[in-house]
Symmetry: C2
Subunit: 274 residues, 2 copies
């Protein structure tokens, strides 16, 4: 496929434009060059972006693709002026207009998810959830587990930490994480501090060969990373989760997003019902 | 505004549907009930969602709004069947088809951003970046600062940690963070370990009153949290960053997303040029 440039143009951060644009582009076997143009909140700035799009078109001989999330109509019109050589995918115009008809009200042209974060309850919850995940990483603290929405369990390096941070950052979910270690397997029961909270426990497991590879990067040649040891730990952890009736999944071939989504679907924390 | 239910329906995690849907809904003064239906990858599952949408319509007397990211056409057609009572916003059909025409190729109907994460270079980089942020949080380690993409500096609780985790999670950017502490202000210069890396340093500052509030939640009544102390630290930190020629912004009214976007725009780490 020929070389292409993709612009993400937004009056806010452009995260929405980029997330959405990337999932559309993933449908094609193309590796376009990305150009991000956030905070385009005036006609003048939009005009500069159009000039840049047109220069790109002249240079490459191919229409740049433009994913736009622009709330202000005058700014939007500037980007979609007749002389703009880009193929503009306007995500707002396409979907906001039918909703205005359905709701019977005009949209309020608000830019961004949080107009002023210092006043947003939802935002404060996300930051608190990130702090909670950091304070309860790797079984550091058994305090406040009662206010956790989710407690992730699994052997060391099975993916608990990134998953709990993602749950916090994306969903404002307070996720503690608790490693299952050889001492737990010897005692043959869940860490006692988890016992009262079994309904919000969720397990992560991982293919032993992949685990050994990840651990080798951290501590090359250690017993901790040895394949035989990884096999034993994974086997013991899975047996323990099965006995305790804790739902679990394998993180081996899953992204953090997929793991987090599955956990939320299965645990259904109360906080998410909003 | 009357009560509404919004469905996010996806054959993957639904993160794209939800991110995009929320930014559209933010244009309206509505607080709809959210229903997430991820992993809808068969006609049968789609049919169940349609039944659920229709029951919701019967109960509420208002059309549910449906944000859909479904790659498979048969699944998509099921959701958009004539008997579906929802207002379906089909994000794929709307934008993929014009791109097929522009590129002159058919889309490959790939579900999700990562088809198998264990093989994805981009995904591995994100996980490595998260581990890097954790290992280099709060000036814990001055090792490997040479491989950092960004080094965030600022007084304690100015927003460095969530920002560095977000940069890692969303963009795969390796961000270290380094607190500016009273000892640095007494010596009147940047921590020496940062000196070689000034071009990738970025400062965060914060309104002293807001800082005092945040610190009081952590350590109520401490000198650390006292407004006068916060004022002094912020004043000293801003003076130091100005003298060192480090770009900085105030996190007081900005979300993590906005802070991260501004940093990337200003620092332009090489890693982002892909």
């Amino acid at each position: 496929m020929p070389h292409r440039t993709v612009f993400f143009v937004s009056d806010g951060t452009g995260i929405t434009a980029e997330t959405f644009g990337n999932s559309i582009l993933a449908q094609f076997p193309t590796q376009p060059r990305h150009v991000r143009r956030p905070f385009i909140d005036s006609i003048e700035k939009a005009r500069q972006v159009v000039d840049e799009i047109n220069r790109t078109f002249e240079r490459e001989g191919k229409r740049p693709i433009v994913f736009a999330t622009l709330v202000n109509e005058a700014v939007r019109d500037t980007l979609q002026a007749d002389d703009c050589k880009g193929l503009v995918m306007d995500m707002f115009r396409t979907f906001v207009e039918p909703l205005e008809a359905e709701f019977g009200v005009k949209s309020n042209h608000r830019v961004g998810r949080f107009s002023d974060v210092s006043k947003s309850h939802e935002y404060t919850e996300r930051i608190e959830a990130i702090n909670f995940a950091l304070a309860h990483d790797d079984g550091q603290s058994a305090r406040n587990l009662d206010i956790a929405d989710v407690i992730l369990v699994g052997v060391s390096r099975s993916g608990k930490t990134p998953t709990s941070l993602y749950l916090a950052m994306q969903h404002g979910i307070k996720a503690a994480n608790y490693p299952l270690i050889p001492e737990d397997f010897e005692r043959n029961e869940l860490p006692s501090s988890l016992a009262p909270y079994k309904p919000k426990c969720f397990g992560l497991t991982i293919d032993p060969a992949r685990l050994a590879q990840i651990r080798h990067e951290r501590r090359p040649g250690s017993r901790y990373a040895a394949l035989e040891n990884c096999r034993q730990e994974v086997r013991d952890a899975e047996a323990m989760m099965r006995r305790a009736g804790i739902p679990w999944l394998s993180s081996t071939h899953k992204s953090i997003e997929e793991i987090a989504t599955t956990i939320l679907r299965d645990i259904q924390p109360e906080r998410l019902v909003y």
